[in-house]
Symmetry: C2
């Protein structure tokens, strides 16, 4: 069906691009809204939650590395670290060779909280995924990873801050 649009490749690609653009826009709005809504439940802001998860997924790291993980400027990462330190969800690991760096390590309390958040959220995603066919369930994360990877590497090389 809809053969008029599928006769040539170009229009199909452009149409898919436009649809992807719209779909991602809508997705980002919904996710942001959900995250804003959920964050308050744990006495943690959205970005603090992301930081905590990044530290758990990738292990102890420096402030700058944390910023890299989250695509944030080092000053922003520093303040994020400060907030997590104050809440004692993270601690500074004994400095080693280089006296400048701060190594951030998730505390037991941090792990507990993160586990709780992950449990709650996974529960939600489990219910959500039940509405999808098993093969789609499995494919979805892989596809999203690939999409993220592609977008991310498309931006990295230039690194130009504007246009």
């Amino acid at each position: 069906m809809d053969s008029a649009l599928r006769t040539s490749h170009r229009p199909a690609l452009l149409r898919d691009a436009a649809r992807l653009q719209e779909a991602l826009n809508e997705l980002i709005r919904v996710l942001q809204f959900r995250d804003r809504d959920r964050a308050c439940c744990y006495d943690l802001s959205v970005s603090q939650c992301h930081a905590l998860q990044a530290l758990i997924q990738n292990g102890p790291m420096t402030v700058t590395q944390l910023g890299g993980q989250l695509y944030l400027e080092k000053s922003t990462a520093s303040r994020l670290a400060k907030a997590l330190l104050e809440k004692e969800l993270v601690r500074k690991r004994a400095p080693r060779a280089d006296g400048r760096v701060v190594i951030l390590q998730v505390t037991e309390a941090g792990h507990r909280l993160a586990r709780k958040i992950l449990n709650d959220l996974s529960e939600e995603y489990r219910n959500l995924l039940e509405g999808f066919e098993p093969d789609v369930r499995a494919a979805l994360p892989l596809l999203l990873d690939r999409l993220t990877q592609t977008i991310s590497t498309r931006m990295d090389p230039e690194d130009l801050t504007c246009c």
Copy 2:
């Protein structure tokens, strides 16, 4: 392969849920970063850009409806509208029956700017999609729409602001 994990259904579903959770987290970070980076190019903030696109996609609407589209509080939507009005990308349509409502309509300048933004972004997405197989290209937006739809309806009914 990996039969230990696939013998029962439960673990597979939970594992997919966890992966989806991580994948979406990463995706949202990358997209936010990209949007922050791009916004400045058009003398438009990220949320103003979203508002403009929503008004174009869904036609003229009231301030509250705009807020609904973007998952924002009406006061936030009001200020967004104000900013777009000041930039003359949007105008107030002649009020009708109800003297309270303001109907927002995109101006010619607004359409021009939106077209430009969409063109630039579609160009990016076109290049991005070229790395994907044709069937994946077509499936991706549909899948994302479905995902968005599912997340969105999962939140609507409760509408509870916290926990």
